[in-house]
């Protein structure tokens, strides 16, 4: 992938990620998150991870965001009214985030391997086949546990959102 496309999608992802936090209206936040996830999916595909990129669009931009929007509309949440901003908390939050970012960037700057470009792939990748083979051989037990986890989550959600019978 050309560097030009990488920077376009990276900037798109970051800008709409910031819009999620900055928007006051939760619906606008959710729609910004969709665009951010689409940009992220393009970045995954630029790394030759086509399966993960497709899953990202299907699961996140599809299912999870529909769930978010559905709940926002169900609860009928309007844009937050402007409260008095707790200045101490806001400065503290931004400060901690900036310190973390500086720390990570320092670590990456001292990490020599990070300056290398990506090695070429030998042949066309068959990533769905390879991931599937790993899932059903090496990672079979975690895969089964994930299945149980999703089942438990489904039952838990049904129980949680059921109204108490009077």
């Amino acid at each position: 992938m050309s560097p030009f496309l990488f920077w376009i999608f990276a900037v798109l992802t970051v800008i709409f990620g910031a819009a999620v936090v900055l928007n006051r209206n939760p619906v606008a936040s959710a729609l910004s998150l969709v665009v951010s996830f689409l940009g992220l999916s393009a970045l995954f595909m630029s790394l030759d991870a086509f399966f993960v990129g497709i899953i990202q669009v299907l699961v996140y931009a599809g299912a999870v965001m529909v769930l978010f929007l559905f709940i926002i509309m169900l609860l009928d949440i309007r844009a937050e009214e402007r409260r008095r901003i707790n200045l101490f908390a806001a400065v503290g939050g931004i400060g901690v985030a900036v310190i973390l970012l500086v720390q990570i960037c320092t670590v990456i700057g001292h990490f020599r391997v990070a300056r290398q470009t990506f090695p070429p792939l030998a042949r066309s990748t068959d990533d769905v086949w390879n991931i599937g083979r790993l899932l059903f051989t090496n990672y079979n037990l975690p895969f089964q546990i994930i299945g149980v986890l999703v089942l438990v989550a489904t039952i838990g959600v049904v129980l949680l959102s059921r109204r108490e019978p009077r």
Binding site: L40, L47, I131
Partner: protein, 106 residues
């Protein structure tokens, strides 16, 4: 050319945005969205390392991509349970603002 560090920096920025969202916003739904942003930032660096570590057969290291698959699955389950909790909370308190939910006693 694009290096591994470029992807890692983008991932770090995304993670920081998510962290700032969790700490600054007070709407529970937006906090949940910021959590998703942080999980996806971790996924991006995992996929970047997977592509960087090309094995002897010329293929990326697919172990990391399987891990990303697991992260996405767990994140989807987490969102479902979290939103159900928010709906239950809204029925009891008619609010999704974390500043209004400060008492432990229900």
């Amino acid at each position: 050319m694009i290096t591994l560090g470029d992807y890692l920096v983008v991932s770090a920025i995304l993670f920081t945005i998510g962290l700032a969202g969790v700490m600054l916003r007070r709407n529970l739904i937006v906090i949940l969205m910021s959590l998703e942003l942080m999980l996806n930032a971790a996924n991006l660096s995992l996929v970047a390392f997977s592509r960087f570590r090309v094995g002897a057969n010329g293929l990326p290291d697919y172990n990391a991509q399987v891990f990303v698959f697991f992260v996405i699955t767990v994140a989807a389950a987490e969102v479902a349970v979290g939103l159900a909790l928010i709906v239950a909370l809204y029925r009891a308190r008619q609010t999704t603002d974390v500043d209004d939910i400060t008492s432990l006693k229900f």
